[in-house]
Structure formats: structure tokens, C-alpha cells
């Protein structure tokens, strides 16, 4: 049970990213991985996704999992509309009517109803990332990987995207691994928050928050304690 990475080793050229690194993720939850920018977090996701081969190490539970990936850039096909981009990833084994229903319901969930026939070049950065989120949930996956998808967006937009994300996730609780360097994002989303340190990467702190995400008030004293704890772990 559960997803585990054990004794992972990975280096790029002479840079040792992971040395005997182990981590596990609980299923049906959102695990946030917090760490400094450029610290190998993306590499960890890419190893999970099979894009990058580890030098050595074992992975358990991932083989049977189908996964979606929400990249830092939305990575939409410029020649396909909002609808086309979502339908693109849906397996052709599904009947078209099913693909259409799934696409329509997700477009609604990410509040892009009026934009189904727009091309990415006609959308704002936030809207493009909404399409990318819709695509990830439309795809019949068990595991969603997210690599700082909110980086570069302004705070207001971030919050509204996070709220959309939480709303969709409440109705469809897949396992999520969310990589970020922003403590507040982690506090809003994470069931478990894991803080990673500098290279070679090690786990510095692990906290669990047992409050439903839509009921969280991250401005409260309760969350301030977590925030201090996480900041402390990040800075030492």
C-alpha cells in the first residue's frame, strides 16, 4: 500500500541531487513538497513520471498508476482550442460522447465556459493554466503531479486558481504530488507537507494538516504555527 521511493540516487554531471533518498506518499491525499527553487524538485517529479531515469533506487506502487502532469508552463498545443487541448489527452478507446461529456464538465469546473473555442494565444496566463488543470483531471489518472503551476502568477490569481483546484479535487480525490516553493500554497492544499533541504536532497520536516481544505483559514494563529515551523525548516 502507498507509493514509495527507496534509496534513490541521481546525479547530473558532477551534481549529486539525490543520495540514498527515500520518500513515501499516501494515496487519496495531496502531498506538498516544499523546497528551494532549482533544488531538484522537478527532477523528483520527472523520475516519478518516467521522463528521467534514476541512477539507482526502487519505486513501489507507481507502476500500476496512470498519471497526469500539470507542468510549470501550461504546455498547451497552440493549434488546438481549449476544448481540443483537453480532448487531445483523452484515450481514443472511450466513445466520443463520453470524451465530450468529460471535457464539458471540466471546462465548467475551471470556469472557462465562454472560452471553449478560444486558442491558447487568445487566453491569459491564468486561463491557460486552468486549461492545463482541466486537462489533468479530464485524463483518467490515479495520480496528478504538479510542478509549481502557479509560479509567476499574481497573488489574487493564485488564490482563485487554488480555490478552483480545491473545488475540483473535493469532488474527485486523486493522489496529488504538488511541488512548490511557496509556503502558503502548501498550507492551503497539503494534507501532508514535506520540506526538502539543499543538495543532496534530504527530508528536513514533515507535517500533516487534518482540516478540510475548503475550511482552512491560513491567516489564523493555528496556521501561523505551521507557517513558522515550515519557514524554519526551509531556512536551516
Amino acid at each position: 500500500m502507498g507509493l514509495q521511493i527507496n534509496n534513490l540516487y541521481k546525479s547530473y554531471n558532477d551534481l549529486l541531487l539525490f543520495s540514498n533518498f527515500s520518500i513515501d506518499f499516501s494515496e487519496g491525499n495531496i502531498t506538498c513538497i516544499l523546497g528551494p527553487s532549482g533544488g531538484g524538485k522537478t527532477t523528483l517529479l520527472n523520475i516519478i513520471a518516467g521522463i528521467v531515469e534514476p541512477d539507482s533506487g526502487s519505486m513501489e506502487g507507481f507502476n500500476s498508476k496512470v498519471l497526469s502532469y500539470i507542468f510549470q508552463d501550461p504546455r498547451l498545443l497552440p493549434w488546438k482550442t481549449v476544448r481540443g487541448n483537453i480532448e487531445f489527452v483523452l484515450p481514443h478507446s472511450q466513445p466520443y460522447s463520453k470524451r465530450e461529456t468529460v471535457t464539458n464538465s471540466l471546462i465548467k469546473l475551471v470556469e472557462l465556459d465562454g472560452f471553449v473555442d478560444y486558442y491558447p494565444s487568445q487566453l491569459s496566463g491564468g486561463m491557460r493554466q486552468r486549461v492545463s488543470i482541466a486537462r489533468a483531471f479530464a485524463y483518467p489518472s490515479d495520480l496528478i503531479l504538479m510542478d509549481e503551476p502557479l509560479k509567476g502568477l499574481d497573488v489574487k490569481l493564485k488564490m482563485s486558481l487554488l480555490r478552483s483546484f480545491i473545488k475540483i479535487w473535493q469532488g474527485d480525490r486523486r493522489t496529488v504530488i504538488f511541488v512548490t516553493h511557496d509556503v502558503d500554497e502548501a498550507l492551503m492544499l497539503g494534507d501532508n507537507i514535506i520540506v526538502l533541504g539543499n543538495l543532496p536532497i534530504e527530508i528536513k520536516e514533515k507535517v500533516s494538516i487534518n482540516i478540510e481544505k475548503h475550511k482552512r483559514n491560513i491567516g489564523s494563529d493555528y496556521f501561523q504555527n505551521f507557517r513558522d515551523e515550515l519557514h524554519n525548516a526551509l531556512n536551516h
Binding site: 502532469y69 504546455r75 497552440p78 487531445f88 484515450p91 486558442y119 494565444s121 486537462r135
Partner: protein, 251 residues
């Protein structure tokens, strides 16, 4: 926006008018139909060409050669371009061939083709050799420009190779192929007509231009030139309209 487009159209129109006046002035100066006929007389001559019994045959033959050469170049250009875009080895192999083809003077190819081939296929051969390098080079550039991140995304979502080729690669290289096709056409028509002038197939714009020149029918030479320009223009417009239909996603 609307005003400035109209403004530019007006300026372009003025350029044509000035050119015509210059022509008229020179015609008045030389005062000889054997050197430079008057523009209005040439225009009438051009219009009477449309009524000639063999007009369709002549224009049809040249068009057929152009289209045939174009389709063959397109086919080979795209297929070899894709292979070269994917395989560095094949790219290294085809690169010098493309460079040689592009820098060889058209007339040298024609002279050799005249020795090797029959009159009717010389222009087609010329068309292929001049158009192919443009399409091939652009296809290679197109494949090279495909966003690796999009391919990676498609791979993560387990999209089949066939669909990655069809929905990621093909649309990405389409604008490159179209712009290659457009440059190829521009050069191609000129090459075909030179080929016809020298190889003298039974029907062809180049053939009639050559005989008109022999008899010093300068008005006919210019009139057929105008037909050739129109032919080239029509095909350019066809390519533009295809481009507009295919690349609507660009803002």
C-alpha cells in the same frame, strides 16, 4: 488599422500607375512597336490572347508542368525533410546536396537537362530541382522547431506515436512547409518558363514567348509575360488562402 491598410493600398496602386506612365513615356520616346509597344496596345494584345484557340492549351500545359513539378517537390521535400529532421545522420547526408542544388545556376541545370531529357519533361525537371530544396529545407527547420516540451507532455499522457506525429509535429511544421511552398512557387514558375523557352515543347508559355521574340512581336512577348505573372499570382493567392485556413490559431 482600417485607414492604414487603405493608405498602403493607395501607395501600392500609385506605384503601378507610375510604372505605367514610365512605360508610356519610354514607348513615346522610342516610338517603335519593335522596341517597346504602347501599354494600352499591349493590354489589348493580352486580352486578345484569351480569345486565341490555343490559349487554354498553352496556359494549361505550363500550369500542368508547374503543378506536377510542385507536387513531386512537395512530396519528396516533406518526406526527406522529415527524415532529415529526425535523423542527424541523414541531415548530414542531404545538406550538401541541398546546398549544391540551391547554388547551381538554373541555366546550367537546363542545359544539362536539354541533353538528357525530351522537350516536354525538361521544364518539369527544372521545376523539381529548383523547388525541392526550398520545401525540404523548410521542413527540416520545421521539425527542428517543434517544442520538445509539448512532445514530452504528449508522451506523459501516453498519446500514441501516430497521434503525436499527427497532432503535435504536423501542425507545428505546417507553417514552415507553406512558407517553403510559397518561395518554391515564386522561383518555380520562372524556372519553368525559362525551361520552356530553351526546350521548346509543343505547347507552353515559354514556347510562344520564344517564337514571338523571334518575329520581334514585342507586344506578344510582354502580353505572355503578363499571363505568366498572373499565373504565378493566382497560385500565390491559393497558397495564402490555404495558409489562412490552416494556421488560424496564430494571433
Amino acid at each position: 488599422m482600417k485607414i492604414s491598410t487603405n493608405r498602403y493600398k493607395l501607395i501600392s496602386f500609385a506605384a503601378v500607375i507610375i510604372l505605367l506612365f514610365l512605360w508610356k513615356g519610354l514607348a513615346l520616346y522610342f516610338d517603335s512597336d519593335f522596341i517597346l509597344p504602347h501599354p494600352e496596345r499591349t493590354l489589348v494584345k493580352t486580352l486578345t490572347l484569351f480569345g486565341e484557340s490555343q490559349f487554354l492549351l498553352i496556359v494549361g500545359a505550363t500550369t500542368l508542368r508547374g503543378v506536377l513539378g510542385f507536387i513531386i517537390s512537395l512530396l519528396f521535400g516533406i518526406v526527406l525533410g522529415i527524415i532529415a529532421g529526425v535523423s542527424c545522420d541523414f541531415n548530414a547526408f542531404i545538406k550538401p546536396i541541398l546546398v549544391v542544388l540551391r547554388s547551381t545556376p538554373v541555366i546550367a541545370i537546363i542545359l544539362l537537362a536539354l541533353i538528357w531529357l525530351n522537350a516536354s519533361s525538361v521544364p518539369v525537371f527544372i521545376a523539381i530541382l529548383t523547388m525541392f530544396p526550398f520545401i525540404c529545407t523548410n521542413t527540416i527547420d520545421g521539425i527542428r522547431s517543434v517544442d520538445r516540451q509539448l512532445v514530452e507532455m504528449a508522451w506523459v499522457y501516453k498519446i500514441s506515436r501516430f497521434h503525436i506525429a499527427k497532432e503535435v509535429y504536423l501542425p507545428a511544421i505546417m507553417p514552415f512547409i507553406i512558407s517553403g511552398a510559397s518561395s518554391a512557387m515564386g522561383i518555380g514558375w520562372r524556372a519553368i518558363i525559362i525551361g520552356e523557352v530553351l526546350s521548346q515543347p509543343r505547347y507552353g508559355i515559354g514556347t510562344v514567348m520564344q517564337s514571338a521574340q523571334t518575329f520581334l512581336n514585342v507586344d506578344a512577348v510582354i502580353a505572355w509575360t503578363i499571363i505568366a505573372v498572373l499565373l504565378s499570382y493566382v497560385f500565390e493567392q491559393i497558397i495564402r488562402s490555404i495558409e489562412k485556413r490552416i494556421v488560424i490559431w496564430r494571433d
